[in-house]
Amino acid sequence: MAKIIGGLTCSHIPAVGNAIANNLQQEPYWKRFFDGYEPAKEWLYNAKPDVVIVVYNDHGLNFFLDKMPTFALGCADIYTNADEGWGLKPQAPFPGDVELSWHIAESLIAQEFDICTCQEMLVDHGFVNPLRALYGTLETWPVKTIPLAVNVVQHPVPTAARCLKLGQALGKAIESYPEDTRVVIFGTGGMSHQLQGERAGLINVDFDIECMEKIATDPEWFTQFSNTEIMEKTGTEGIETIMWLVMRGAVQEKAKIIHKHYHAPISNTGAGLMVLENQY
C-alpha cells in the first residue's frame, strides 16, 4: 500500500527562483533563508519519496480567469514549466504518476471533493520553486510529481476549513492506493504578504509564528478564521497559507515536527518552512 512519509510546507516566492538562478544563496540577504533549507533537504533525501504532491497556486500560467477551478489535480505523465513573461528560465519537465493521479481523483470525488482533473497542466513558479529549492536545479528530477492547484487568486477562494478537509480526504486517497509508493506532500505559499494597495508590504511575524505552531500541533485552530480575517491579519496574498492545511490534513494528527524555519522578509514575504513526519 502507498504510505505518506510526511509533509513539508514552504514558500514559493518568485524571487527564490531568481536567487537560485543567479547563485545568490550565500549572499547576506539570502543566506539565512537558504541555510535553513538544509535540514529539510536532508530529511527529504532520507525520506526517499517516489512521489511528491505539490499543493500550490497557479499565478496566470496554466489557468486564466476564464476558467478558474477551485481545486485542480494534475493527471498527466509529464508537467511542463514555461515562460511566465518575466524572465525566469523554464526548468526541465517534471514526470508525473498518472495512475496515482487518477486513483486520487476517483477517491476524492467519491469523498465528495469534486475536483477538476487536468490531463495537460503547465506548472509555474508556485510548483517549481519549492522543488528547485529542495532538490536543486536538475535536468532529470529524481522523483515523480503530482500538482494540486488551489485557487487563491480570484475570490471566492476556498476556506481554510475546506482545505484542511481536502487534505484529510487526500490522505485517505493516497493510503488506499494499492501499490507500495512513498509519498511526501508539499503545502506551499505564504506566509504573510500583501502585494498591492496602500497596505502593500504588510508582514505579520507574530501571526506567522503563531500559525506555524498551530498548524503543526492544532490545525483546526486555523479554521476559526474567515478568509477576510486571514487577509486582515496576513495580507491579501497571505491567504496562500490556507494551502498548508491541505498538506496538514493529509498527514497524521500526531505527525512529528522535524524542522521549523522562518525568515522575513524574503521579497515581500514572511517565509516559513516546516517538516512534519508521520510516525509508524
Binding site: G85, G87, G235, H259, Y262
Partner: protein, 133 residues
C-alpha cells in the same frame, strides 16, 4: 442587479481581487495573460494601442497600458500577477508597485519590510524549536 457587499472591502488599503473586479478588468487581464508568449510580447511592443484594440481594452485601461502607468493599472483592477508580466520586463518590480501605492521610494519600502521583521530571532527563540544556523 447589485454587487453584494463584502466585509473584506472594509480592510484599509486593500483591494481583494473578486468577481466584480475580475469582471471589470477581464479584457486587460486577458491581454496581459498573452504576455506569457514572447511572440505576443513582441507584437504588443510594435503597436501597443492596436494590440489593446484586439482584446477590447478601451478607455482608461487602454490609456494606462499605452502610458505604461502600472500603478494606475492596478488601481483600475488589473490583477497583480498578470500586471507583473508587463511591468517586470520593463523594469518595474512588484516592490516598486508596492512602494508607489504608499507614495514612498522602493528603498523606503524595502526598509519598511525589514523593520516589520525586527526582533525576529528573539521571537523565534521565545517560540522555541526553530532552526537558527
Amino acid at each position: 442587479m447589485v454587487w453584494k457587499k463584502h466585509d473584506y472591502e472594509d480592510i484599509p488599503g486593500t483591494y481583494v481581487f473578486d468577481g466584480k473586479i475580475a469582471h471589470e478588468s477581464y479584457n486587460i487581464n486577458k491581454m496581459l495573460f498573452t504576455f506569457n508568449s514572447e511572440e505576443c510580447r513582441d507584437e504588443f511592443e510594435q503597436e501597443p494601442a492596436t494590440y489593446c484594440d484586439k482584446f477590447g481594452v478601451t478607455g482608461d485601461f487602454k490609456e494606462c497600458v499605452v502610458q505604461k502607468d502600472f500603478l494606475r493599472m492596478l488601481r483600475l483592477g488589473c490583477n497583480i500577477y498578470f500586471m507583473a508580466k508587463m511591468a517586470i520586463p520593463r523594469g518595474t518590480s512588484v516592490q516598486d508597485a508596492g512602494a508607489a501605492f504608499q507614495g514612498i521610494t522602493t528603498e523606503e519600502f524595502q526598509q519598511q519590510l525589514q523593520d516589520r521583521a525586527e526582533g525576529l530571532i528573539e521571537k523565534l527563540e521565545k517560540a522555541g524549536g526553530y532552526w537558527n544556523g
